[in-house]
Amino acid sequence: MTSDTATRPRVLVVDDAATVRMYHTSLLAEGGFQVDEAANGLEAVEAAMTTAYDLFVVDVNMPKMNGYACVEALRSATVGTPAPVVMISTEDRPGDADLAYRAGANLYLVKPVAGDRLVRIAGMLTAQRGVPA
């Protein structure tokens, strides 16, 4: 089991809504990922300082530090290839996605995201992590 745990990609789910966090976490855990949770941007940055993640799933509207600021902070703290970021938000107004892309997100999705889709995308974005190209 240890070797398995070592190779399974690790995801950090960042969302202030406990229900959404539980939903995303359980979907990803079922999908075979190791999942940690953070309730806001600050907690996410803190977690990322001690643990190497293969993917961040980040909400936009959060207290303390919002999603955009969180993504920028996560990015500026990385050396080497940064872990991909998927932002998931309830906002679906024009321009919202651009804010995410400007902050450095790799994909912007609107809630609610179907379970299989989230796992599929997470699988795609983490498929090559650590595999020499």
Binding site: M1, D4, T5, T7, R8, P9, D16, A17, A18, T19, V20, M22, Y23, S26, L27, A29, E30, G31, G32, F33, Q34, V35, D36, E37, A38, E46, A47, T50, T51, D59, N61, M62, R75, T78, T81, P84, T90, A97, D98, R102, G104, A105, N106, L107, K111, P112, A114, G115, D116, R117, R120, I121, A122, G123, M124, L125, A127, Q128, V131, A133
Partner: protein, 784 residues
């Protein structure tokens, strides 16, 4: 209820409270940007979570509220109290819906109509429906209706036709599922029936037998041969969550009335070329391609938006593009490529990948969607770096109650040891054993006490829980009455047992309403009396030993003792003599008498004169007291004194006619033995004179209708109690010791036996009835 929904309901509770409180504060400080932001965020988070469930009205209404708040936040709109009213009304409606969801797992019928009205109101200040109607449509996804699958035949035909008719009238759809558990599912600790029973909003369930049972000789009783068909209104997200371990064994279709009717008539489905929208899981390759293209477009856009070519950003984009390319089956190496190379690669990939078939995504080490769950989510619990969030544990109230009950039972079992010790000495003649048992007892006693204290501590809640509802109540009522009132709360952090806090709610509402309705004057009257136009209402709590004192005070007109006395006299509550001799303090206390109401005109706020006597009754039921002080023209203060905890009661055990009863120790003044000769009689009432005071004596046996006459003609045992400030002697057979008991309320048929406040189990297994002294005295008066 599935854990996701119960998580949502718990979270919703907190969020709605946060929003409500914020809105009320916002009305006082409309310009506070941080506050607006906080309220907005609460509403926003709530909307996000609600979107996981199939509650379209809920999401739509929250969305409207959120948009209004957003406009305020952006400074496009100034919040006025009309808007606050609408917002509060919206969240009130939502709270009502959630109560319905808690009970029935769906929104009430009529929710759409209720919501529509409020949505129009909420959207009015921001210019009606939003410009991008499409954005709204997205919030409520269009219903995709599937064709009826063949397995629909396994549903009961009568039920199907009823359902079709119902779907027709409501023009809605329902989800139909076919779940075929693996034959060897029992060996994987799966429980298909249990799983199906957990489906929320289950409308119909049927078990499907195999078309042919295997011959008896080959029959394997450990193989699961049955499958299930069922219909539900639950949202796809909830179903996905529930069936996440067995996704490949479930087929889902969403059907409307038409599809079912066609099936019943034997007509072919409309979309024959697309047989069944199979399952949650079966990943169509085109879906991966679509996701990959989305990632590519995102990469493109992200490069456009950030022309700075920052190294980290470029590397991140490279990685995403490589991943997408890999998923599309066109591996492309892009390590540390520059902007033009990346852009070219994206364009090439997008062009190539459009309709092409792609390879499934199962790279080594990477998870595939259908991968068997390698490790249950439970495993995360012992993962130290997981759950960065809160350290506070939310526990179901029932669990704490259960714990308290167990502590009570432990106390009873523990007390049993003392009886055992007595028996060891008396029946078996072993003093040594008796002492050892007693030693054991004292050890257990200490632990039990600590355990009890610990559980009681868990049950402690701050008074703010009881005070929280008042800002809203005071605001609404004062507006209706045209009075200006400033509500001040003090000592909200004072802790008390949750039962006390809960029971405190109604009396406090009564007192606050009374103050608002009768105590506090209109601004004109106040100004005329030389007081500030705005009145002050204070709710204060302070701990006092093992009691908590809660005061409701106002700076209103106060109570006129003369008027109260006159009123009481007119109503026949006091005699003419009392009218003349009664002190002002006593007069004010008259408002607590049953059937007294000072308001000349009964208002709809304070009800019909059932106010203060009800307050006193419920506070006394908690083992507390109420007193009122008033200065005419300056205001009124009502003081409630309550025990910090009502879980453990000290009772004095007495016996009457061979039967034991408990009497709350708080009421007991003293126990006396009086020679029969000293008993006197005034009119028909037996009395005893103690230290110059004449105390009426009630024969407890007679009051309780038990046959008993004192055997000992010379000595009478009298327990003196103080009820409502009056001393009364109770004639009993014998006094016993005082015990700590956990009082359980009377249940079932006995719930109507008002003369008892509850039962308690004694260490020797006897059930002790604890007397409600007030009622018992009433009974005695009737018997006499």
């Amino acid at each position: 209820m599935n854990p996701l929904l119960s998580q949502f309901l718990a979270e919703a509770n907190d969020l709605l409270a946060q929003v409500d409180e914020g809105l009320l504060q916002l009305e006082q400080r409309p310009g506070d940007a941080e506050l607006v932001n906080e309220v907005f965020r609460g509403a926003h988070t709530f909307k996000g979570s609600s979107g996981l469930f199939d509650f379209p009205e809920l999401t739509r209404l929250t969305h409207a509220a959120e948009d209004l708040l957003d406009a305020v936040r952006a400074g496009k709109l100034a919040l006025d109290s009309g808007m606050v009213d609408d917002l509060l009304a919206a969240f009130d409606l939502i709270r009502g819906w959630l109560a319905h969801v808690t009970a029935h797992e769906r929104l009430p019928v009529g929710a759409g109509t209720d919501a529509a009205l409020l949505i129009t109101k909420l959207r009015a200040p921001i210019g009606g429906e939003p410009v991008s109607v499409a954005a709204h449509a997205a919030a409520v996804p269009p219903r995709v209706v599937d064709a009826a699958p063949e397995w629909l035949a396994w549903f009961d035909a009568d039920w199907l036709s009823t359902t079709a008719a119902w779907l027709e009238t409501t023009s809605s759809t329902m989800r139909f599922l076919w779940y075929t558990p693996d034959t060897d599912c029992f060996f994987r600790a799966e429980d298909p029936l249990h799983l199906v029973r957990q489906v929320p909003a289950l409308e119909h369930l049927g078990a499907v037998r195999p078309q042919q049972w295997p011959p008896v000789d080959d029959y394997d009783e450990y193989a699961c041969l049955i499958s299930f068909v069922f219909a539900t209104r639950a949202a796809v997200g909830e179903l996905e969550y529930l069936f996440r371990y067995v996704q490949d064994q479930v087929q889902v279709v969403e059907l409307d009335a038409d599809a079912i009717t066609r099936h019943l008539r034997g007509e072919p489905p409309l979309k024959a070329e697309e047989p069944v929208h199979v399952a949650v899981t079966e990943v169509a390759d085109s879906e991966i391609a679509a996701d990959a293209r989305a990632v590519l477009s995102a990469a493109q856009r992200s490069l456009e938006l950030r022309p700075d070519d920052e190294a980290v950003h470029l590397r991140s984009v490279c990685h995403a593009v490589s991943a997408a390319a890999y998923a599309l089956g066109v591996p492309t190496v892009l390590t540390d490529a520059a902007r033009p190379a990346i852009l070219a690669a994206i364009e090439r990939l997008l062009a190539e990948a459009a309709p092409a078939p792609v390879m499934p995504l199962t790279p080594s080490g990477a998870p595939a969607t259908t991968a068997a769950p390698a490790e249950a989510p439970v495993a995360r619990a012992d993962d130290p770096s997981g759950q960065v969030g809160t350290k506070v544990l939310k526990v179901d109230q029932e669990k704490v109650d259960r714990l308290m009950e167990l502590v009570g039972e432990l106390n009873v079992a523990k007390n049993g040891l003392t009886f055992l010790a007595d028996a060891a000495e008396e029946e078996f003649g072993s003093r040594v054993l008796s002492r050892r048992i007693k030693d054991q007892y004292s050890g257990m006693h200490r632990i039990a006490e600590e355990l009890q204290a610990a559980v009681m501590d868990v049950r402690m809640l701050p008074l703010s829980v009881a005070f929280n509802r008042f800002p809203r109540l005071v605001r609404d009522l004062s507006r209706r009455l045209g009075k200006t009132i400033e509500l001040v709360t003090e000592g909200e952090d004072t802790m008390a047992d949750k039962d006390v806090i809960e029971a405190l709610g109604d009396p406090l509402v009564h007192l606050v309403r009374n103050s608002l309705d009768h105590g506090i004057e209109t601004p004109d009257q106040r100004l005329a009396a030389g007081k500030p136009g705005s009145a002050k209402l204070t709710l204060a709590a302070v701990a006092d030993g093992d009691a908590v004192i809660v005061e409701v005070s106002d700076d209103g007109c106060g109570i006129d003792p003369e008027r109260v006395k006159r009123k009481a006299y007119e109503k026949g509550l006091i005699s003419e003599e009392e009218l003349e001799t009664m002190s002002d303090v006593e007069a004010v206390d008259l408002v607590f008498r049953a059937g007294f109401s000072t308001a000349d005109q009964v208002s709809d706020l304070s009800g019909r004169g059932v106010g203060m006597d009800a307050v006193r009754a419920s506070v006394e039921k908690l083992g507390g007291t109420v007193t009122m002080r008033s200065r005419l023209g300056h205001g009124t203060t009502t003081r409630l004194r309550l025990p910090l905890s009502m879980a453990v009661t000290q009772v004095m055990v007495v016996s009457v006619a061979g039967q034991r009863f408990g009497i709350p120790v708080d009421l007991v003044v003293e126990t006396v033995r009086v020679p029969a000769a000293e008993m006197g009689r005034v009119l028909h009432q037996e009395v005893v004179v103690m230290r110059g005071e004449v105390i009426p004596v009630i024969d407890l046996a007679r009051a309780l209708d038990m046959p008993w006459s004192p055997e000992d003609p010379t000595d009478r045992r009298i327990l003196v109690v103080s009820v409502n400030g009056q001393r009364v002697g109770l004639l009993v057979e014998q006094f016993h010791r005082e015990v700590d008991v956990i009082l359980k309320p009377m249940e079932g048929l006995l719930a109507y036996a008002d003369e008892f406040s509850g039962t308690a189990l004694l260490g020797d297994g006897l059930v002790l009835l604890v007397l409600n002294m007030k009622e018992v005295l009433g009974l005695a008066a009737r018997v006499a």
